[in-house]
Symmetry: C2
Subunit: 521 residues, 2 copies
Amino acid sequence: MADGDAMNPEKRVRGGRNQRREERSKGAAVHRPYIVRGIPTYDILSEENLIRIEQTADRILAEIGIELREDHEAMRLYKAAGADVTEQTAGIWRVKFEPGMVREILKTAPAEFTQHARNPANSVRIGGKNVVFAPSYGSPFVMDLDRGRRYGTIEDFQNFVKLSQASPWLHHSGGTVCEPTDVPVNKRHMDMVYAHIRYSDRAYLGSITAPERAADSIEMSRILFGAEFVDQNCVVMGNFNTTSPLVLDGVTAAGIRTYAAANQGSIHLPFLLGGAVAPLTIAGMVAQGLAESMSSCALAQLTRPGAPTILASFFSSMSLKTGSPTFGTPEPAIASLAMGQLARRLNMPLRCAGNFSTSKLPDGQAMQQSMMSMMSAVQGGANYVLHSAGFLDGLLSMSYEKHVMDTDMCGALHAYLDGMAMDDDALAFEALNELGPGQHLFSTQHTLRHYETAYWDSQMDDNQPWETWDEQGGIDSAKRANARWKKTLAEFEAPALDAGIDQALQDFMARRKGAVQDMWY
Amino acid sequence: MADGDAMNPEKRVRGGRNQRREERSKGAAVHRPYIVRGIPTYDILSEENLIRIEQTADRILAEIGIELREDHEAMRLYKAAGADVTEQTAGIWRVKFEPGMVREILKTAPAEFTQHARNPANSVRIGGKNVVFAPSYGSPFVMDLDRGRRYGTIEDFQNFVKLSQASPWLHHSGGTVCEPTDVPVNKRHMDMVYAHIRYSDRAYLGSITAPERAADSIEMSRILFGAEFVDQNCVVMGNFNTTSPLVLDGVTAAGIRTYAAANQGSIHLPFLLGGAVAPLTIAGMVAQGLAESMSSCALAQLTRPGAPTILASFFSSMSLKTGSPTFGTPEPAIASLAMGQLARRLNMPLRCAGNFSTSKLPDGQAMQQSMMSMMSAVQGGANYVLHSAGFLDGLLSMSYEKHVMDTDMCGALHAYLDGMAMDDDALAFEALNELGPGQHLFSTQHTLRHYETAYWDSQMDDNQPWETWDEQGGIDSAKRANARWKKTLAEFEAPALDAGIDQALQDFMARRKGAVQDMWY
């Protein structure tokens, strides 16, 4: 049995790993709906130090509290739960929580839940030992090697949905994969949700930029899944940012309530840039992140106890020379590992880290920074890893080439998280004994049995001899990725969608879009 | 106290971390002689599975044994220690060890030792919680963006010694940083050792390609340090490869004995390419690596009990499509983490992993693969990390640009391994309390106190806004590295070397070189 197997439901079914290997040997990469980790998490903090962070988070919530803006219903919910609420000016409240109170509220949050995909084979299980990769989220710009940086459009958006769907190494279609800036601000959320439904058969995120857009996202999901199913199952999630430090604005609070009331998922993300909206010290940043995310998660649980709720944090640092934000640096990686431990102590699913970088090109810096950040996600036990593919330019740009390179890295991380098989066959004494010292193992029975499936085989890396690589043009990984995304898009076939549902979605969008004027801000 | 501090002598001195921060704030990067890790290791295998690997290694040594070639004295030592030795053909013996016997022999190996540098401030402590980074080793080719790939020369060799010395993020000058192919094979070892002594004041590796070259390396070190000092202290080490699977050749065995007899360090490295010279399965590769390295280490201990001895393994995989070796892939990373656990159970220092890649350019692939591999070294607890800088082309080429990019990454890993400070100042409650919710922390006392030293600040990464980067030419990280190494070499000043010692070294080399004809193979 591999390490950690005892608690791993996938592995308890004898042959999970072997079956994947067999499937791999049949040809192309085999998509798994999500990863069930086969290696433990990387726990860097002692119990004592975890408690110090938790106590600091509790103290922040008790003595400073959070500032809630404009959402009277959220205020009412917090107050009814026993929080100490003081109105500071009209519609702005300071909400304080006795130590332990938020933790108590969060006990109704599920430790794991399923987000359903329209293709049931692609439904994802979020929480526990599960790891779900989703593409990057929220960039206003897109980039490719041919056209450089430019504002994203709905065509770019659709392209990224297609590229994600085509990758066997992502599990979730994500949300705002780029901003479709050519569609009015108050209508683009529907085009985004529609693109996820039309060009992907995986799970997706909905809009959070206004409560009515959240409602539209859920309503479109009801058309797809049926209203009754949606009330009992999570089919869409919203990714909510607190306004750090320690503010929950009214749009966000109302959006959280909208998703939770519909029993849909919500992710509660403080975006913490140390020195700007959080302390520069790692421990302080983590304590603040925990406090903000916990208090935001609590609103979802107070709205509808048991609603799927994901604890989250996005840690970044800054260049001490220029004050610019930095991503993929060591301190946020350490913070993310700690956040993993804290989430497990809360028994809640976690979103944390991803393939972060400040580079403007899919170059060495980009992949080095990404790997440092992404490793903290998979090692730290993050369950939902948004920003798994495409992130460049400090999240300002979604890169076509980086998307391809990152998804290939996500493939490698599948093999990494599988860990090490440990049985007599894997220990391979007989393989060495067959021919003995000094003899190559190419022709042993053991090698013949394993050679088609033993290793992760990248579709993007160049592992050829230098001479072959040179003869073939001597190109770098970014240029290979450039060719790859074009080929993928050219060959893309959208998964079949029921024509009646498609028509109903289009009718809904036409009706909703027709009812209001375009807004561009 | 940071996690793990209780056992961390550096940190027990109050202010170790703070003092470094203060020093950093004074200007340029501050060189530390080596890293003392502030975070725990990443332990992925259970006790039960570690024992299964150890038992398999023991069984390999007991039932298959190792093949020893040509070195009669090594045979005698193994036999005298109780090994079961059978001569198979003239000068070729099969050596088998009862389970537990090698482990018993290795009890005389020091858990930690100091390798002295000619500048005492740069002496390195190898073993325990210490991490030492050294540049890559053994490439016949060198590469840069201007001239492409070509055979290495002694000028390249000197350049890489200078680049390593100039980096604050390496701790050790390494050994064969590239093959100086313009110097005769039987004389180049002296030019290499001389270059390390002349252009660096850090510790270095000597030659292992023939017993007399090992002896020359030690003799030159005696000229530098004095014969008496050398007999009592480690000042040079040899990096020895077993001939996998399960062979110890005569040149290697005699070289090991030469270093150990002189009380100098030896590294015992099986270079395991799964499917070729090791099983394709991870557990089997690790068990074999442990068996080979342990039996090789035992020869050093039998030669001179207590001689500095480093357990080691180099794990690589292969492309299942082409049979080419692959580096920086997930399976070897998992194997390296396991090797770390096994080394700690032996209470011996470990060399494992490094910045491995098969890429032919310092591109995204190069840095992604490197980071996956290097993370396994620093997380797994490797104490001496050879190949920390410059490795490309599956170890066939040493890259100038990659050296610069890797050393910068090594800097980031210093901050990573420092982990998280954990005191009231780091927890930063007062920082958040000072201005309260919704207020940026730029001007808080806490930020002002920390902003010069809080974060790792890369010298190579571009973290500027896109517009600034674009105005400055929009170049990638490889091109920045190209400019950087040229600047570094142009500005390099060799550390002062006593003129008498320099003359004595040159006299020694002239005498030794004059005594034999050039050999080119």
